[in-house]
């Protein structure tokens, strides 16, 4: 077993474990912390792929922006206690069963569909440096890139719309 493989398994274990913990933690704050760890481990995967730029962006966006947003909201709502009421056994059972089912089905499907990978293509060229990514993003993917701004604009407008208090009501 190569080192890489060991690192991969290690990272994967962390990823899955933290993801799982995120879900079953009763305290939302804990969940958020676990999730951050999970994101970091995913970033680790990215680094494994030698996609440094992406790893950094990932950490900035997810751990930096999204998670902060989450934590901010949790604190805003004062949700750091274990506020969730006791769920029905049936719900839990259903969730667990469907998780098992989905996992089984998906894995089975992919195992069945997995092609025999004898060799992996190695282009030898640089395909994921910032330079290349920038070129692709701003040449080929210029339109989606611009269109993503529309998306963000809409999201921004929406958040404002949802949060702004009407003048008439005051």
């Amino acid at each position: 077993m190569s080192t890489l493989l060991i690192i991969f398994y290690f990272l994967s274990a962390i990823t899955l474990a933290t993801a799982f913990l995120t879900i079953i933690s009763k305290n939302p704050i804990h969940s958020a912390i676990y999730l951050v760890i999970c994101f970091f481990s995913v970033a680790g995967h990215y680094l494994l792929f030698n996609a440094q730029f992406l790893a950094i962006v990932h950490i900035i966006v997810y751990s930096g922006a999204i998670m902060v947003l989450f934590l901010f909201t949790i604190m805003l709502m004062n949700l750091n206690k274990e506020g969730e009421p006791h769920k029905k056994i049936a719900t839990k059972l259903a969730a667990v069963i469907s998780f098992g089912l989905v996992c089984f089905v998906m894995l089975a499907v992919f195992i069945k569909a997995m092609p025999k990978m004898e060799t992996y293509r190695t282009s030898g060229q640089d395909f994921q440096s910032i330079k290349v990514l920038g070129k692709v993003l701003l040449n080929e993917y210029m339109v989606p890139f611009e269109f993503a701004s529309v998306l963000l604009l809409v999201a921004m407008m929406g958040v404002v719309l949802l949060s702004k208090k009407e003048k008439t009501i005051q």
Partner: protein
């Protein structure tokens, strides 16, 4: 392509209008702008081609559907002014979001690259989440927004997974490249898994059984205009996109795939119609009716010839009927806690014109001749018989029969009961929209050729 740019520009313009305190001008300017864009869009019918590294493809399909979306958006924007009368400060946001939503829809039908598709559907979805929850002091609206958001983003995840698998199998997001790869090389089975994920995600957006559960709740809770947007615009956009995806990515349909479509269509038709029978809330009923129509539209995927035309016709018929329906419903249920059928009591006597329009749109959706809904069903069934899925045809017929039961509940309420309260004066804009939609409806019925041959 330029349509997309123009629409985005128009959205920004409507935002700017708020800054310059030109609130009153927003709706008219937007409508005029949209009309101009519509004209422009139609003119691109003669300049078909791919733009920007094949990110956007302008073909007959995209032009025709974009035009339809623009027309519907014009109706929706026209209704906005009256609908948001109490929230004057937010009108620019609402109009702006609707225009951006239109941009998303245009991206969805004219994409040449899955990234555009994904962004388009996200623009659409996020706009709708916002619009659904936009009545922020109303818990029902919040709930609708929340439900839609949770399930919608779940579906987005699935769509994303699908795209990812397609990419994994073919190494590209570009439709042409993908087609090239799958027709020339061996590729992993992931591809089909990806297609199915995409299909499921889109079926969710269209609201077909068993991915339909969100629709009734969200339709009921959302503000009426949003419901109108979701039912008339979002549904047909998603359907058109799904059609385009399936046609582009799955040149040869397997029997098993068809069987799934058939099952979904049958389940949607039957369940939608049966569930609608017992509904007392008009919007909720319309949601179920929409589910059954989704069943009809989904079956266009099976057609061997003339499918796009049929879909376009069906979508147009459904949309114009929906718009007219909501124009009236919005007027009747304004200031009411619930949009129950009782609200329509005696409507036939007090407002013969609007009642007539509502009746006509209901009849259209029920598939009664001379109204476009009938022709839509006829063309669809006509093609369906050809495919050999006679079961589907029979089920479609039976579900049409069931549907009469609930459509006529409203008609009965309008014409046989006496009203308990008086309604305010009819806003002019509602009336205009309703009348124009009805005229379009009848015109589509009388001259089906116009729409039916657009896509060759």
């Amino acid at each position: 392509m330029n349509t997309l740019i123009a629409i985005s520009g128009l959205g920004i313009l409507s935002l700017l209008a708020e800054i310059f305190n030109a609130r009153k001008a927003i709706v008219p300017v937007t409508i005029i702008g949209l009309l101009a864009i519509l004209g422009f869009n139609i003119s691109t019918y003669n300049h078909l081609g791919a733009y920007y590294n094949n990110m956007m493809i302008t073909d007959k399909f995209s032009v025709a559907f974009s035009s339809l979306f623009i027309v519907i958006t014009i109706f929706l924007v026209a209704l906005s002014h009256e609908f948001y009368k109490d929230q004057k400060t937010k009108i620019s946001d609402y109009v702006g979001i609707k225009v951006f939503l239109l941009a998303g829809t245009v991206a969805m039908v004219s994409f040449g690259n899955l990234s555009m598709f994904f962004l388009g559907i996200e623009v659409l979805s996020i706009s709708l989440y916002i619009l659904a929850a936009s009545n922020r002091l109303n818990l029902k609206s919040n709930e609708a927004g929340m439900k839609y958001f949770l399930m919608g983003s779940f579906a987005s995840g699935i769509i994303l997974f699908g795209i990812c698998l397609i990419y994994g199998a073919t190494g590209s997001f570009d439709l042409n490249t993908i087609l090239l790869v799958i027709s020339t090389q061996a590729y992993p089975q992931w591809y089909f898994i990806g297609i199915i994920f995409l299909l499921i995600g889109m079926l969710f957006k269209i609201a077909t059984v068993p991915f339909h559960f969100w629709a009734p709740d969200v339709y009921e809770g959302s503000p009426a205009l949003t419901t109108a947007t979701m039912s008339s615009l979002a549904k047909i956009v998603a359907m058109a996109t799904l059609y385009k995806l399936v046609m582009a990515l799955l040149p040869v349909q397997m029997y098993s795939f068809q069987l799934i479509i058939v099952c979904v269509a049958i389940a949607s038709m039957v369940l939608g119609n049966i569930m609608a029978l017992r509904q007392n809330n008009v919007k909720r009923m319309f949601a179920f009716s929409g589910i059954s129509h989704a069943g009809f539209m989904v079956s266009t995927l099976l057609l061997m010839s003339n499918a796009a035309n049929t879909l376009l016709y069906y979508a147009s018929a459904y949309a114009v009927a929906g718009v007219a329906f909501f124009a009236v419903v919005m007027y009747v249920t304004k200031d009411k806690e619930n949009e129950t059928i009782d609200s329509f009591n005696g409507f036939g006597k007090s407002h013969p014109l609007l009642a007539g329009i509502l009746t006509a749109s209901l009849l259209s959706m029920a598939g009664i001749p001379i109204l476009s809904g009938f022709f839509a069903k006829f063309f669809l069934l006509n093609q369906l018989v050809h495919t050999g899925w006679l079961v589907l045809v029979i089920v479609a017929i039976i579900s049409s029969i069931i549907s009469v039961g609930y459509y006529f509940k409203i008609i009965l309420a309008m014409y046989t009961k006496d009203s308990e309260h008086t309604l305010p004066k009819v806003p002019v804009m509602y009336q205009i929209v309703a009348v124009v939609a009805l005229i379009l409806n009848i015109a589509l019925g009388l001259f089906p050729n116009v729409v039916l041959n657009l896509l060759g």
